[in-house]
């Protein structure tokens, strides 16, 4: 992780610019941004811990609490909403006990409600981890989630 952060520093005229990339690296390594993970980043970039935490907490894609093994990012913005995204959100609650911001008891899924993810032409849409799924229906969503253990 430290080596990776060093390489990234070289791409910017100022060390601090490596903060977002470094947070991504730490999040990948630890699964989420615990205080320890942020401390490691702060040390690597020679920044105050409070500053790192203050920055990380601004961005919705940095997770400041532990997440499940798979992250469902469901869009409910307008183009997805008018084509049924809210029914999908309800289905995740009814079938998996998954509430927005929550994690299933077995730790298999976490759910985050997204604003537009740029797949409005094939709405409704979601990302599972980094995989994009479009044209979701109440039928195909279960099949898609079945692929993630």
């Amino acid at each position: 992780m430290l080596k990776e952060i060093e390489d990234i520093k070289a791409k910017y005229p100022d060390t601090r610019a490596a903060l977002l990339p470094a947070l991504y690296i730490a999040q990948k390594e630890f699964g989420w941004l615990s205080l320890d993970a942020m401390k490691a980043v702060a040390n690597a970039l020679n920044l105050p811990e409070s500053d790192v935490r203050g920055t990380a907490s601004f961005y919705s894609m940095f997770r400041l609490k532990p997440a499940g093994r798979n992250l469902i990012q469901l869009c409910t913005n307008i183009s997805c909403m008018i084509l049924g995204a809210e029914r999908l959100r309800d289905l995740l609650k009814d079938r998996y006990g998954l509430l927005p911001g929550g994690t299933t008891e077995d730790g298999r899924f976490s759910l985050v409600i997204m604003e537009c993810i740029g797949a409005c032409g094939t709405a409704p849409a979601m990302l599972v981890n980094t995989d994009l799924y479009e044209n979701l229906t109440e039928h195909n969503i279960a099949e898609i989630l079945g692929k993630y253990k």
């Binding site: 791409k11 910017y12 005229p13 100022d14 601090r16 610019a17 490596a18 903060l19 977002l20 990339p21 947070l23 991504y24 203050g54 920055t55 601004f58 961005y59 919705s60 894609m61 940095f62 990012q73 409910t76 913005n77 307008i78 183009s79 909403m81 008018i82 084509l83 809210e86 997204m114 604003e115 537009c116 993810i117 740029g118 797949a119 409005c120 032409g121 094939t122 709405a123 990302l127 980094t130 994009l132």
Partner: protein, 422 residues
């Protein structure tokens, strides 16, 4: 119309550098390098190109200001944050035509004497991130990027930088703060980024589609380019259509085509032939247009006259089954969540609006709520630190203006009649 921005994108390998070169790609770099940087800026001026990021600002003006500044190094930033809800027009360039963007950035960097470029790409596009990174690596390997491009002693280095899910980071000064590794809060202007942008140096921020137009201007010349589409605002344009239409998607069309043509001739008309109710012509930050106002030209100059804005050219189509109170509520939830919190009118105002809309939608609206919505909107509009608040207030006002009766009905009937159909 012959496609330029989406040229060859039906080819599944269009993102491959060899494919791009085979179809004439990167030849405009050599052509541009024959010209003086100032000549290229002059060509861009003659072309009439306006920025495609939302405001339609003349590109040459920004470029002239930046090149007049004597400080170096200068930075060229591509705004690939594409956060406006309903917008997915930059995505096909990023995913299927990445080398067009890189070529545009190399030429722009040369014209602006900017030797360092960054692509600020939204975190929600992991696939585009992989494609763009691969494309940048390949362009380095082929000698199109680096310290001695094509052996001409011209330098341009390019880095793809991933955002992390904050809409405000699409606003160009917030983007700069975010790029520098801070919370993405908009900056005070002046100084403008063209004089003091990234790391305090002269910085040009342009949208993906704007930069992707540059090779075309070099290829066909400013005169020919300026004849495409609408005279005051020419060029090819990407329109992304979503919502209740038969064939949603991204369409490359001449700038200034009418909204009706886009919906009915290209997007196949409304889904299942239902009655059209309303359209956001440029994302949810652009005022909504009712069904009887779609005979307007879709360009940066004409739409303001029709009461809206081209914004990100995100055409969101809503049919008769849609409740406009609910639409307003969802839009405001977005603005509340994405308000950066720096200024009070936007931070507090969007939350108040959302709460009032929520009670109206849930049948608990009060008689004074409509005037309250208007009053709060007026206190956000023109008083917020950046244009996020203006967008939120403008949309609220437009929905109230065209669909006031629906709000009155919710309050009077104490329910939403669209709900059971949902």
């Amino acid at each position: 119309m012959e496609k330029f921005l989406l040229r060859n994108t039906e080819n599944p390998n269009s993102a491959d550098i060899e494919e791009y070169i085979k179809t004439g790609g990167y030849k405009n770099i050599s052509k541009a390098f024959e010209l003086q940087p100032s000549d290229i800026i002059e060509e861009v001026k003659k072309s009439g190109l306006r920025g495609r990021g939302g405001a339609g600002f003349p590109t040459f003006m920004k470029w002239s200001f930046a090149s007049a500044d004597k400080k170096f190094p200068k930075y060229l930033i591509c705004n690939a944050d594409e956060g406006e809800p309903g917008t997915f027009k930059d995505r096909p360039i990023l995913e299927k035509n990445p080398h067009l963007l890189i070529e545009g950035m190399i030429i722009s960097g040369y014209a602006l004497k900017a030797e360092y470029g960054y692509i600020y790409l939204r975190g929600e596009y992991p696939y585009a991130y992989d494609v763009m990174n691969q494309a940048v690596r390949d362009a380095y390997d082929k000698g199109y990027l680096g310290d001695n491009i094509l052996g001409k002693n011209i330098k341009f280095n390019l880095v793809v930088h991933l955002g992390a899910g904050a809409y405000i980071c699409g606003e160009e000064t917030a983007l700069l703060d975010s790029l520098e590794g801070r919370r993405g809060l908009p900056r005070n202007k002046p100084p403008f980024p063209v004089n003091a942008g990234a790391w305090g140096m002269p910085t040009i921020v342009n949208n993906v589609e704007t930069l992707a137009n540059i090779p075309h201007i070099i290829e066909i010349g400013a005169d020919a380019y300026s004849k495409i589409g609408f005279p005051d605002c020419p060029g090819p344009k990407l329109y992304c259509v979503s919502g209740h239409v038969e064939k949603p998607g991204v369409f490359e069309l001449p700038m200034g085509i009418s909204l009706r043509e886009i919906i009915y001739d290209y997007a196949g008309g409304t889904k299942n032939g239902k009655k059209l109710k309303a359209v956001f012509p440029g994302g949810i930050s652009a005022p909504v247009l009712p069904a009887d106002s779609i005979d307007c030209a879709m360009d940066f100059v004409s739409l303001p006259k029709a009461g809206s804005m081209l914004g990100s050219a995100a055409v969101m189509v809503m049919d008769e089954t849609v409740c406009m109170v609910k639409i307003a509520h969802r839009a405001m939830k977005f603005f509340e969540r994405e308000s950066c919190g720096k200024c009070t009118p936007c931070r507090e105002g969007t939350e108040w609006l959302r709460k009032i809309l929520e009670r109206i939608e849930n049948g608990r609206g009060r008689n004074e709520d409509i005037s309250l919505l208007t009053d709060i909107s007026n206190n956000i509009f023109g008083k917020s630190f950046c244009a996020l608040g203006d967008g939120a207030a403008g949309v609220m006002k437009s929905i109230l203006k065209h669909f006031r009766a629906e709000f009155e009905e919710h309050i009077k009937e104490k329910r939403c009649r669209f709900k059971q159909k949902d």
